[in-house]
Symmetry: C2
Subunit: 244 residues, 2 copies
DNA sequence: CGGTATGTTGAGCCACATCAAAATGCGTGG
DNA sequence: CCACGCATTTTGATGTGGCTCAACATACCG
């Protein structure tokens, strides 16, 4: 039972629905077929039609799209408890690539497993629909940032969102978190040049808001950052299970 | 039976799963509680926690976020067969507003209806998960456009995507489609100023690619547009049912 | 037939890109 | 323990796509 509760996905979903023993067991069964992948080697290639999805158990991954001109847009970063490639499976086409940023552990999930799980407990289907919706909400926030926030606010928002997500799975706090991303990652995620990312980070550091250095994000002034970013974590936090 | 098949949502989902009689009936039941809403009056307010979602039956709607500085970012436009506010219901918080662009007809759906439907046919849950994933894929494309495409390509991509979506529900073709959007809508969707949208449209018109005028989009050079936009409709089209 | 929403065009400016180069850190093999 | 190579970070100089401000044109609507 302890091991069941410790899965990051279970933790995440439990914030949404109060899961029964049976549902926890079904969820746990999805975590069989544990695999390891090395950093930097694509897990899903852009363009290929993929047959299975994964649940990230440990490590960080990035999903991105390469443009024909060679530039890269990072769509999102995945942390433990997140699905990898679920969209690719459902749409039966991978419009994006997924690459482990560090060495990762992930559980392989077939569509058939999902269907089976849904048949056993429809509430789990709803819970996963919730998780997918939450992912979409993050992409939407990301989109809004690109369209209507300047570089400083974009960066601030990004660092805060990441912090909130990590906190939910016990990997961070308001004071900061460990973060293996490079400034190139930030640039490709935020639609900026790496050069400009560096200047923005310097500014945030000089303004004593946040420091991004040596794989460590240190938040010096949480309220200040929230204000600069206009950050509202409503879509990430759940105040309690919505479905009894 | 004829009336069942004619629902735009049914049409869309049928492209993904071959639905049985039972599933069609369950889907049809979700379309009870038909309501009308007037153009311009918010259906969902940003910030309120909403209790029900809708399936759009006729007309166009827009989902958007207002920033504290008053600027607006349009996340997506909804056309018949699309869900309205499903994410708000699942996340139990509305991070965005939804406004009918013209007078619309929509069927109200409660969470409980969905849960019930899922319990009856898990395949329907998968189908709806597909629809949500497809929405997410569109937002992702939108995101990529904002981050890594210039204004011309962004506009071209947008017009092509919209055309493809409309074609799927029988409201457009490669030659063009009717479109009630203003240049302000385009500006807020694409993260541009209305002034610049106007200039971009002029350029596309002068280059004999596409004309946007009087609520009518006329595509004069489909291939040219596809090339400019780097448009790949894989994520919108389904070549056939994926789930037998 | 005036009012309000939308579309069109010009002038000037700024946030961020690009190009270039140096500084720093770090893993690896000798 | 050093030296080399490579990835990453940092800083400066210069260019530009798209913004803002300001008019005016057009179309629809009661």
């Amino acid at each position: 039972m302890k091991s069941i509760e410790s899965s990051p996905l279970t933790r995440k979903l439990s914030a949404f629905v109060a899961l029964s023993e049976v549902e926890l067991a079904v969820l746990q069964r999805l975590h069989q077929r544990r695999k390891s992948f090395a950093a930097g080697r694509d897990l899903v290639h852009q363009g290929q039609s993929e047959q299975s999805a994964y649940i990230l158990a440990a490590g960080w991954a990035v999903s991105y799209k390469i443009q024909p001109d060679g530039s890269r847009q990072i769509v999102d970063f995945q942390i433990p408890g997140d699905f990898l490639g679920l969209r690719s499976v459902l749409l039966h086409t991978s419009d994006h690539g997924i690459e482990p940023i560090v060495d990762i552990q992930a559980a392989e999930v077939f569509v058939s497993d999902l269907l089976e799980a849904f048949a056993q407990t429809p509430r789990l289907a709803t819970a996963i629909l919730w998780a997918v919706s939450r992912d979409e909400a993050m992409v939407v926030e990301h989109l809004v940032g690109m369209g209507r926030r300047d570089a400083d606010a974009r960066m601030a928002h990004f660092l805060l969102e990441l912090g909130a997500r990590l906190s939910l799975v016990g990997m961070g706090s308001r004071a900061g978190y460990a973060c293996p991303l490079t400034q190139y990652h930030l640039a490709d995620a935020l639609g900026l040049s790496a050069v400009h990312v560096n200047r923005v980070l310097r500014k945030l550091r000089e303004d004593r808001l946040v420091t991004f250095r040596n794989g460590l994000v240190t938040i010096e002034n949480y309220e200040g950052l929230v204000e600069l970013a206009d950050f509202d974590p409503a879509y990430l936090d759940q105040t309690g299970p919505l479905l009894k």
